[in-house]
C-alpha cells in the first residue's frame, strides 16, 4: 500500500498535513480538557493546568 515518491504531489500540500494548524489544535485541546473528562489522543498537549 502506498505511492511512489513522484506521486506525492497532493500529500505534500499543507492542507493534507495531519495537523494543519498546530495553534488551533492546541487551543481546542485546552478548551476541551477544561470542560470534559478526556484529553489528548493525537499527541501530547503542552501540559496540565488548574482549569476549574
Amino acid at each position: 500500500m502506498g505511492v511512489e515518491p513522484w506521486e506525492r504531489g497532493v500529500l505534500a500540500k499543507p492542507e493534507m498535513q495531519l495537523v494543519v494548524d498546530p495553534l488551533e489544535a492546541g487551543i481546542d485541546d485546552h478548551i476541551y480538557f477544561s470542560k470534559e473528562a478526556s484529553s489528548g489522543g493525537r499527541g501530547f498537549g503542552g501540559g496540565g493546568c488548574g482549569c476549574n
Binding site: M1, G2, V3, L23, E24, I31, A37, G40, G46, C49
Partner: protein, 443 residues
Amino acid sequence: MGATDGGREPGSGQFVQRLAAATCSLLGIGSTVPVLAQEEPTWALDTSFLYYGESDERVQDLSLNVLARRLFADDKVLSFGLVYDSLTGASPSGAIPLNEVQTFTRPSGNDVYTVQPGELPLDDTFLDTRYALTATWQQPLGRLYTGSVGLSFSTEYDYTHAGLNFGITRDFNKRNTTLSLGAAIARDEIDPEGGAPLPLAPMGNIGDLSARRPGTEDKDVVDLLIGVTQVVNEHLLVQVNYSLSDSSGYLNDPYKILTVVDPATGEGIARVPAPGTAGPLHEYRFESRPDQRTKHSLFVQGKYYMGGKVLDVSWRYMTDDWEIDSHTLEAKLRWPLGDRGWVEPHLRFYTQTEAEFYRPSLPVGELPEFASADYRLAPFDAWTAGLKYGFRTASGNEAGIRLEYYRQDGSVPDGLLIGNQDGDALSPELDAVILTVSYGFDL
C-alpha cells in the same frame, strides 16, 4: 476547469531525468554537476487570539497564543510557544440548587457568597491569569528517523506545571508508513487557596481552616504514545494512535463540593454558623477523588483529498479506571474559495459516561471513600458546530477567523437521584461560543 488545471502531469518520476538528459544534449556536456543551494532560515510566526464565553455569567476566557518556528539547515526545527490566558466568570461548584437561599464560604476562608433559591451555585472566585511556555527541538536522525525533545511549563496563581517530552519516528516502505513513539512526563504543583481540603471535609465558617492541609500538593503524569501513519493512496492518509496516560498524586479539584442532602426528600440539611461569624447555611463537603488514574485512548484519523477539497475525519475512544468511557467524533471539510481563500465547516460530537464516584449530592450519614459532583465527571453529550474562514492576504500572509458553538447536555441517571430531586435541574448544561482570530507571518 479543463485541460489547464490538474490535468495529466508531465510523466512520472522520470521527468527530471529526461529533462537532465535533454539539457546535457543541448549544452553538449556529458553530465551536470549537482546544484548546491541552501536557504537561510527565518522565523515563521503564528498568532491567534481566542474568546471563549459561556452563557449565564459563567466562564469567559480571553487568550493570546503565539507559535514561533525556525527552520535550520538539514531539516532541523526549533519552535517556541507562548500562551497568555485570562479567565473570568463563575464555574459550578458542584453544589445543587435548593429551594432556599444558600451561603457558601469562599475557598480562601475569608468571605462568603450567597445564591438565591433555585439558582445553580456558581463560584466566581477564579479571576485567573495563566502563562504557558513550550519549547521543542526536532531533527532528523539519519535518513529514516526523526527525533524530538520538548519542554513545557505553565503557571497560574494556584497551579504550576513542568513537563518534558520525547518523540521518535521511523519511516518504512518508501516513506508510506511512519511509526511514532512518544513519551512525556510532568510534575504539577497545586497550591490551593486556603490549603487543600481534607477529603470529604465539611465546609466550615469564615476563618476556619482546620480541615485544610497546609502546603502544596503534587501530581505526576506519565504519557506514552505509539502510532502508525499510513499513506493509502495519492489522496488518502490514515493515522492510528494508542496512548496511555497515568496520573498519580493530588487529582482533586480543591474547590469543588457536594451538597449533603436528606436521604428521603433530597433537600439540603440546614446548618447554623457559629455565633459571631458567617458561614454556610447548609451542609456541604469537599470532594474526594482517587489519587491514581489510568487512561487508555485509541485515536483514528483520516485525511481525504477530493479534487481541491480536503475531508478530515477522526474518532477517539477513551476508557479509564474511574470507569469513564468516551467517544469523540470529529469532521472538518476544507473547501477552497477562489484563489486565495477557503472555508471550513466543523462538526464535533462528544459523549462520556460518568466516573464511578460521581454523584450530584451526598445523603447525610453516608461517607464514601470517593465522591465528586463535578459536572465534568458526569454523563453528558456535547456538540460543537463551527465555521472557519481563511485566506492568504495580498502580502502573502495567512489570516483566519473561526466561530464555533459548543453545547453540553447531561442527564443524571435516575439511580443517582435522591428523594424528590429533579434530574433536569441537576443535569449539567453548558452553552458556549468560541471565536478565534488568527494571523501567520514570517520575520
